[in-house]
């Protein structure tokens, strides 16, 4: 008797939860990775730091893999939480799964400007101890698009 009631209740709550299951994707995708790149290119040009060849996946990769100084001690690198191989899922310091950063694996990444900006702001300050420049952000996304 108890078991049966529980099963019904669980089915009900599973249905309720179904709609809000995904933690990372945002409901309305306001843009695309290309639009983010366009925005960062404009910002980089305005700041006078855009190099001749434009954004570079190589520089993005170096930023992603490097051990940095100046940030918070527990987070020396982007790969403290994300995986060195960006096609693999990472984990936060509290053990929660993070979907792969590579666009090929998680196609809804780098599309919601508010989300992208929020995490660049936080993670760059945690890892580098400062905000990332528009050039670094563009390089990073360029690298992730190539993966």
């Amino acid at each position: 008797m108890k078991k049966a009631t529980l099963a019904i209740a669980l089915a009900g709550s599973a249905m309720l939860l179904g709609g809000v299951a995904s933690g990372t994707s945002t409901a309305a995708l306001a843009g695309s990775p290309q639009e983010m790149l366009k925005r960062y290119a404009e910002e980089a040009k305005a700041a006078g730091i855009m190099p001749e060849g434009g954004f570079s996946a190589e520089r993005g990769k170096a930023l992603y893999l490097a051990d940095h100084k100046g940030g918070k001690p527990a987070t020396p690198s982007c790969t403290t939480c994300h995986m060195k191989d960006p096609t693999q899922p990472g984990r936060t310091r509290t053990g929660k799964l993070i979907k792969p950063m590579a666009l090929s694996k998680t196609p809804d990444r780098y599309s919601d400007p508010e989300k992208v900006e929020k995490w660049f702001f936080r993670n760059c300050r945690s890892v580098l101890g400062r905000e990332c420049t528009p050039l670094e952000k563009g390089d990073f996304i360029t690298f992730m698009i190539s993966q």
């Binding site: 009631t5 529980l6 099963a7 019904i8 209740a9 669980l10 089915a11 009900g12 709550s13 599973a14 309720l16 939860l17 179904g18 809000v20 299951a21 995904s22 933690g23 990372t24 918070k72 001690p73 527990a74 987070t75 984990r91 936060t92 310091r93 509290t94 053990g95 929660k96 799964l97 929020k118 702001f121 936080r122 993670n123 300050r125 945690s126």
Partner: protein
Amino acid sequence: MHRKRLPILPGAAGMLMAGALFGAAVMMPAWADERYPPVTDELTKKECGSCHMAFQPAFLPARSWAKIMDTLDDHFGEDASLPKEKVEHIKAYLMKNAADTRWRSKMMRGVRKDWTPLRITELPYWVHEHEEEVRPSAWKDPRVKSKANCKACHRLADRGIYDDDDYYEYRGYGLKRGGYRDDDDYKYRRGYRDDD
């Protein structure tokens, strides 16, 4: 069992009310722990649930939530900053539903008025509940990683369920209750979907 106050209403209104309550009882997990109601505020769920599970507000007193929300740029060694409007919204929700707004919360045991704990996992009641039942080696298990990873052991933690032996998933950290063969068996028999 859990206390539930039923409003006494006359006539048709009472019948309607009873129907609605019955409906709710079927849709909601009937055994959900009333002590730690799940987070209902969508913004809190989203913004406080991206690095770890969004902890239920009933786990800390209001002054603790206020301090946590005022220091998000240095949040346990990470930057978890949010825009001001969002901070204020989440702070209000957490404080309104905090442990010290509830009647005789066990979480408040031994928490003196002049102490503002920032961790659930340092509260005397939490420590007490975990020191007896959890093998010390479990905290070092890479699948657990942090004491704050409640979901590693309480698989239904985000629904506020911590106290029903049936729903514990010990996953080899300690004893395994409920007679489940393995994780898949557990999920299958509980109808549990891995949300994250």
